[in-house]
């Protein structure tokens, strides 16, 4: 079955740039071969080696929080702005369920991290969640990416209990990815194995989505010039 291409699901090329850099190929070269239906996207996410990163569990959890926030913001914004309300009943259930799950993930990460939780980043999804088609394409790509990210994160925490918790999130995200792929008529489980990734590559992928931006400057020390 020939599935949608990555170009279809990522018109802004935010994810494509990230994936291309991870695969060590050019964006154009990557696009020539990438199709979702053939499972090439997950294949493309694979990295040649998995190195155990010397990072603290705190850092890993904060990274997990950052990514969960990205997902939760994506779904929540689409729901608040009414994009999801324009979808079919089945797609609404899918999108709202995923949004609710991601918000639950954010809450638990924040609770676990407490005062050590990093602040909420500023997001700019552009038109990626503004229409049914754009939202769906991006959600499919995001869920596939999330599975690859968590598969890489879970084994590198030092505490086995944290590994167990992250595995619980990973399986749920894998269900999300399969559900998302099913929504667009793509193979829910195109590969027999999903390879893990290094934390550095995960960071790079998130950075290059360009969904995380600098907050706008809305405060100043200038003397007010208001009407008084």
């Amino acid at each position: 079955m020939s599935g949608p291409t990555l170009q279809d699901i990522d018109p802004d090329e935010a994810l494509q740039g990230a994936l291309a850099s991870l695969c060590g190929t050019t964006r154009a070269g990557f696009l020539r071969t990438a199709t979702l239906g053939g499972g090439a996207m997950l294949a493309a996410l694979r990295t040649p080696a998995v190195a155990r990163a010397e990072v603290s569990d705190l850092e890993i959890l904060n990274f997990g929080l950052r990514f969960e926030r990205l997902q939760a913001a994506f779904y929540t914004e689409a729901e608040e702005l009414g994009t999801i309300a324009t979808m079919s009943a089945a797609k609404q259930q899918w999108a709202q369920t995923l949004g609710a799950h991601e918000r639950a993930h954010v809450r638990i990460f924040k609770k676990v991290l407490g005062s050590r939780a990093e602040g909420r980043p500023t997001f700019d999804f552009g038109s990626a969640n503004a229409t049914d088609a754009a939202f769906t394409r991006t959600a499919v790509a995001m869920e596939d990416l999330t599975v690859a990210l968590l598969t890489g994160l879970a084994p590198i925490v030092h505490d086995r209990r944290l590994t167990a918790a992250l595995m619980g999130l990973t399986t749920v995200e894998a269900r999300h990815a399969a559900w998302a792929r099913n929504i667009v008529g793509s193979a829910p489980a195109p590969e027999a194995f999903d390879r893990p990734r290094t934390l550095a590559s995960v960071r790079g992928a998130v950075a290059q989505t360009r969904f995380v931006v600098k907050p706008p400057k809305t405060s100043s020390r200038r003397r007010p010039g208001f009407t008084g």
Binding site: L81, S127, G228
Partner: protein
Amino acid sequence: MARRSRTAAVVAVAAAILAVVAAALVPGRAAHVRRPVRASALPAPVTPAFVPGAARPLGSTRHLAHWAPVRRNAVVRRAPDAGAAPVTALATSTPERTRNIVAVLGQARAGGGQVWAHVRPSMLPNGGTGWVPRSVLGGYETVRTLLTVDTARLRAVLYRDGRPVLRLPVGVGMPGWPTPRGRFYVRNRLTRYRSPEYGPIAFGTSARSPAATDWPAGGYVGIHGTDRPELIPGRISHGCIRMRNRDILALAGRMPVGTPVLVR
């Protein structure tokens, strides 16, 4: 032939007996024999360090409002169409050198597939709305707060999720310099300046005084503190909304940039 068969049988029996004896005499030999593992002998699964709570639906969005920074100069148009009549120009920065922002009221996809945002900009006459391409704006932000200003009763109320959280006396525009009525939003927040007449904190709003168009900084209406608290509540300003300093500080702790402001 029969004798050879008997010999072979004797050798086979002897070998079997020797194997049994050896197995019995060598300690641990039996331990290498694979036996089915009893489920009850397996260790319990590792207890997860955390388990998320129940997934909850988003709930009502009735009290939410959205805003977005302006990424590039643009023309606000009457309809989501590049050929539609212009409403006003949109700049990227404010007179206070902060990023200009607009209230986002909705969005739509126009012909050709381009997404447009329905926005409320700061403009004269006050209260106008229009459309800009989505790409003109940065990321959307959400606020749960609303500030209402009652110019008749000289009171402001800050709501969060639809519930009042602060009620404050205010000073508003004097006769001839009325505080404009309508729907506006908080554009920026100024602190640590040296102007006692504005108190410790000042918020810039999208409201503009029609009577102060020649005001040096454009005649924007602010919400700020004062060095004359005894005049509050009252009709004392050139359009700004003044508060006692302790009140503006309380407000500052609860009112984020982007908060809608309803003046009536």
